[in-house]
């Protein structure tokens, strides 16, 4: 078993001045390389909060979340996102004032990869997600939603990580582009050994996953393993 992330009794409480809301309640699960995981559930069930914890953008209020045995609380979470885990969003979130190529090169620039090497690697990743070369110099606003999401995936894998987190990656796409993106994510897991964790409402996306978790009121349960 190639376990990469493990959550043990993870709880998360949102606290404001007047109230506390338990968004996650004693979630325990693990994620392995080479598999696609889907986390399904209604809006407000705690899916995105869990994804936020998996991305190291926050830490659990209680319980332990570890990456290859290392407690997330004790690790440099910025470095974790920079080198090991990337997030794909429903609204793509490409830098609007950078070209397609520059967007993919950006994480490598953050890692101080030399420009020439970064460009070569960006071309490789863009080719891998099936984006035609004619689009490399275009601005994100000039390409379709499906193409933008493919650029976002190329940017995510450009950092050279092994964990791909996706928050409703097909939410803004038509069925044809949805199929392409799902296939691409499955390919990255099965062929390139990524641990792909997808938060989704979409049944077709969940159907393509190797493991499906359901989230109801912050409680995680196994739907299909």
């Amino acid at each position: 078993m190639d376990k990469i992330i493990e959550a043990v009794n993870v709880s998360y409480i949102y606290q404001t001045k007047y109230q506390k809301t338990k968004a996650l309640s004693e979630v325990s699960c693990s994620f392995e390389r080479g598999k696609v995981y889907a986390i399904t559930g209604k809006s407000g069930s705690g899916k995105s909060t869990f994804l936020s914890l998996l991305a190291g953008l926050d830490v659990p209020t209680e319980g332990t979340l570890s990456v290859e045995g290392e407690d997330m609380r004790k690790m440099n979470r910025d470095a974790y996102r920079l080198n090991r885990a990337s997030v794909i969003y429903q609204a793509f979130h490409l830098f609007p004032l950078l070209t397609v190529m520059e967007n993919v090169m950006f994480p490598m620039e953050l890692q101080h990869v030399p420009k020439k090497e970064a460009k070569a690697r960006a071309q490789e990743y863009l080719a891998k997600v099936g984006l035609p070369e004619t689009l490399y110099k275009k601005m994100p606003s000039m390409i379709s939603g499906g193409e933008q999401q493919r650029v976002a995936i190329a940017r995510a894998i450009a950092a050279g990580g092994e964990i791909l987190l996706a928050d409703e990656p097909t939410g803004n796409l038509d069925s044809q582009n949805e199929k392409v993106i799902v296939e691409l994510l499955c390919k990255l897991a099965h062929e390139d050994n990524y641990a792909v964790i997808v938060v989704t409402h979409n049944e077709a996306v969940a159907a393509a996953a190797d493991v499906v978790y359901g989230m109801t009121d912050g409680v995680l349960s196994v739907v299909r393993e």
Partner: protein, 409 residues
């Protein structure tokens, strides 16, 4: 570093409208700061130059202030004032009567025809200007500071007597003696000596009250004649300029120590020159007004700085409202808080530096601002604006990255 430079430059160019707007606000702020800093600098300079522009003159008088010449100023006081570190352009004079050739006091009639004066500077003759004296080659007014047996003679008198510059002439001189009790004035002989004529004077507008001197001698030369005759040297009038009017009180204390008292108008008449009239009223009034003005301007500095901090905060706050997603994305991609802050802050720092530079150049053009003022205004703007920017950018740290990026549109 290359990464930061590239990203900062990219941010500036790609957000060009925001950059231009921030830059223009910056330039205007710098121009306004120039007006403030320029005002402060001008007031500081006026205060600094006040002693040059408004010289504080001190005149020796008798105790009730009724006499400013024709007095008896003791030699120890004369020498102490001349040596004082607080006194500049010190002028003391002593009046004499004289005649050509050698003669005894009994032969004064027909011989004692001229008026003379001993002085250590030409300021001792009211109205006499240096250009009204023609000097023998190699000589100048500094001869009056020496004890040499030389003299400057009235040009008309020289013509009448057939004398020329460089001639040596024998003269017998007498000094005045004032009798305090009877208010009588006597003449005592100082002796016969040969003097070299080193200058010829032609006074344009004499401004004194006494009969103008026909011959001027160096003061110290006359002092030696007094000593030779065993007569106590007493100067006739004296004045000086307070060297540093900002140390006026120290000057007054020193003068009191010398024995020069403030004028007391109710005192009895006396020939004794033991009082000092210091014309400091205008200086004090002007200095106080300038100092008040300067204190007010300096007191405004925290408020001016606070306004610039606020401008920096508002500009940056409004700018980052539309760039929150960019910040969240940077964080999501693994750029730490510090790194993301530096990228945004760096952009503003470059724009602020450019605005400070442009504003200073513009101020130089519009107001002919001095370099020091430009540097002050530019630096004040730069640091205050960036303090505001830093405060605005720190608010980004509260942003929930996931919440921001989970939005669907």
């Amino acid at each position: 570093m290359t990464f930061y430079i590239r990203q900062i430059w990219r941010g500036i160019v790609r957000h060009k409208y925001k950059t231009i707007l921030t830059g223009m606000i910056g330039v205007l702020s710098v121009l306004l700061l120039h007006i403030y800093a320029g005002n402060m600098d001008s007031t500081e300079r006026q205060l600094k130059r006040l002693p040059e522009v408004m010289r504080v003159q001190a005149k020796v008088s008798n105790l009730n202030g009724s006499l400013e010449e024709g007095m008896t100023i003791r030699e120890d006081r004369v020498q102490a004032i001349r040596a004082s570190e607080h006194a500049a352009d010190v002028v003391f004079t002593v009046r004499l009567r004289l005649g050509f050739g050698a003669f005894t006091p009994g032969e004064y009639e027909g011989n004692l025809n001229y008026y003379g004066a001993g002085m250590n500077a030409i300021g001792g003759v009211p109205g006499l200007k240096a250009e009204e004296i023609t000097f023998f080659p190699g000589e100048d007014v500094s001869a009056l500071e020496s004890a040499r047996k030389v003299c400057i003679m009235d040009a008309a008198l020289m013509e009448r007597e057939g004398l020329h510059l460089g001639d040596e002439v024998e003269m017998t001189s007498f000094c005045y003696r004032y009798e305090e009790r009877s208010y009588e004035i006597f003449l005592d002989i100082l002796g016969t000596d040969v003097y070299r004529i080193i200058g010829a004077m032609r006074i344009g507008e004499y401004e004194g009250n006494w009969v103008p001197a026909d011959v001027i001698f160096p003061l110290d030369c006359m002092r030696e004649l007094y000593h030779r005759q065993g007569i106590e040297f007493l100067a006739d009038s004296g004045s000086f300029v307070v060297k540093d009017p900002f140390r006026l009180n120290e000057c007054k204390e020193e003068m009191e120590g010398i024995g020069m008292l403030p004028v007391a108008s109710r005192a009895d008449f006396s020939y004794d020159g033991n009082a000092l009239t210091i014309m400091d009223e205008s200086f004090i009034r002007s200095a106080e007004a300038l100092e008040e003005n300067l204190a007010l301007l300096r007191g405004m500095l925290p408020f001016v700085a606070a306004i610039i901090v606020l401008i920096g905060y508002i500009c940056s706050y409004l700018s980052i409202q539309s760039r929150q997603e960019e910040y969240a994305l940077l964080r999501s991609l693994g750029a730490g808080r510090g790194r993301s802050f530096c990228l945004f802050f760096g952009e503003t720092a470059v724009v602020a530096a450019f605005a400070a530079l442009c504003g200073s150049v513009a101020a130089f053009g519009f107001f002919s601002a001095a370099g020091k003022v430009s540097a002050q205004a530019g630096a004040l703007f730069f640091f205050a604006f960036l303090a505001g920017t830093a405060a605005a950018l720190l608010s980004l740290h509260k942003l929930s990255v996931m919440e921001m990026l989970s939005k669907n549109d």
